[in-house]
Subunit: 249 residues, 2 copies
DNA sequence: CGACATCTTGACTACAGTCAATACTAGTGG
DNA sequence: CCACTAGTATTGACTGTAGTCAAGATGTCG
């Protein structure tokens, strides 16, 4: 854990928090939030910064408030697989275990609402609203991970890219509270390398397949990190799967 | 859910249950077990039988007592990916959701200790020993799923087979309460097809890589479903990963 | 024995990976 | 303002791993 990111008491009250209705605290009542407010703090990491190394102790747990972080594992020879993407309201860390089994990296500037682990463990032991919500979120993440296993094990490079874009388009629409329709424009946030690590591909294959989808008219690129989807149904079809793409919880 | 597998009240008392110390009930005290005893029942499925279809409602949840079951997803064109293997003490189903997102199939004859979902939801709402244990088990499964993502996304066919065998050898040794050493012999339980579905390969590639490992002296085959590992460390090395292979929880 | 499942092996193909050159973008400093 | 650099992205040529198609071997059960 870096040392230059000093914990800071929040000036944001929980009731005004942007992730209030989706995070681990979302089932809490006002008086329960007050308790959290007393022990939470905010921590911000810059894009590219490593938040935790695989195997190293991690003294805190907490929720993403803004930005995106990645979880990944690396083989001794350098091959890397991303195993999770944390968006706002997603939870990092696990009660009852000291070390993260994953490298955690800030994909963009990212702010967490954190608790020291012993403190958080006391909270979940005494507050069923938090522990129930954490169980719910963990089950959702498990479903997401399994959905991703299907993609990694059985989908073609083209389907993988289409699938990723469909998910990101949907998430972007949801965040903007706009309908998931055609002509949707969304930012990628992550580099080609991060996409490759997430999809189990190389950056060259990612690049080629994005170009192929563009030539096929399935997507348009406003710039290399901004995608427009003229026909969402066609993109979904290309993802090889009629599923809603209910990944990332 | 099949209709010819009639629920049966148990004649096995919880305190004598073989999965007593690992299952979702493992943190319970004697009087809590009594309550479970009143509402649990046993259900047995035959090898090859489908326990639940993806998307169909599943009225029960429960723990594997004996045998092995598989969770898998299938794409519209028939490509299939196994996303979980359930061994004794593993839990099937999720509170708060009616439909299984996976096909659940009995890989061997398999017996579950089941609860009707509404009943189980009442239990976890009122019994922290159960809900805490369920959270713990779900977090372990999430780690396993992510470990598997690394295998599916980044490992070669040879590494995948070596990894699977290393895990099965370890599990078999643990079940027999014998040390994980050299000369270990273990049964595969599952067909080449099931291995292929789990590893994101074809049966032909599975077969070829098993033959290659045999020719390289890394394994010996007593018959096509029984493997001997003369040098466990070498097998682990071939799996491309120094991890303990702490998969399957 | 015959029928059916499962498994192995061979020949060929194709999809994604590797290696390499080039283009694009943003940031820095003269 | 332009030159320079470093990081990111695209494209091409070639290779290699795993997939496909097909024939046969092995094993199990009636």
């Amino acid at each position: 854990m870096r040392t230059d990111a000093s914990p800071a008491k929040s000036d944001v009250r929980c009731v005004d928090c942007p992730i209030r209705h989706r995070a681990v605290c979302s089932h809490c009542e006002p008086r329960e939030l007050e308790r959290l407010e007393g022990v939470k703090s905010y921590r911000t990491y810059r894009q590219g910064e490593t938040i935790a190394w695989a195997g190293e102790p991690m003294a805190i747990v907490g929720s993403v408030v803004r930005g995106v972080a990645t979880l990944s594992r690396t083989l001794p020879d350098g091959r890397r697989q991303m195993v999770g993407l944390l968006f706002p309201s997603d939870f990092l860390g696990r009660p009852g275990r000291n070390a993260s089994p994953y490298d955690v990296v800030a994909a963009t500037d990212v702010t967490f609402c954190v608790f020291r682990r012993p403190e958080f463990e006391r909270i979940i032991a005494s507050n069923p609203h938090v522990s129930e919500r954490l169980l719910e979120m963990t089950l959702d993440e498990l479903d997401s991970a399994r959905e991703w296993m299907l993609l990694l094990g059985r989908k073609t490079a083209r389907e993988k890219i289409a699938n990723l874009f469909a998910i990101m388009a949907r998430r972007s629409a949801e965040d903007a509270a706009s309908p998931v329709g055609d002509g949707l424009v969304f930012p990628l946030y992550i580099t080609r390398e991060a996409m490759a690590d997430y999809l189990g591909l190389t950056i060259e294959t990612v690049s080629r397949q994005i170009s192929a989808l563009r030539r096929a008219g399935l997507i348009e690129l406003e710039d290399s990190r901004t995608v427009r989807v003229p026909d969402f149904a066609r993109l979904l079809e290309e993802a090889g799967d009629d599923s809603d793409g209910v990944v990332f919880s």
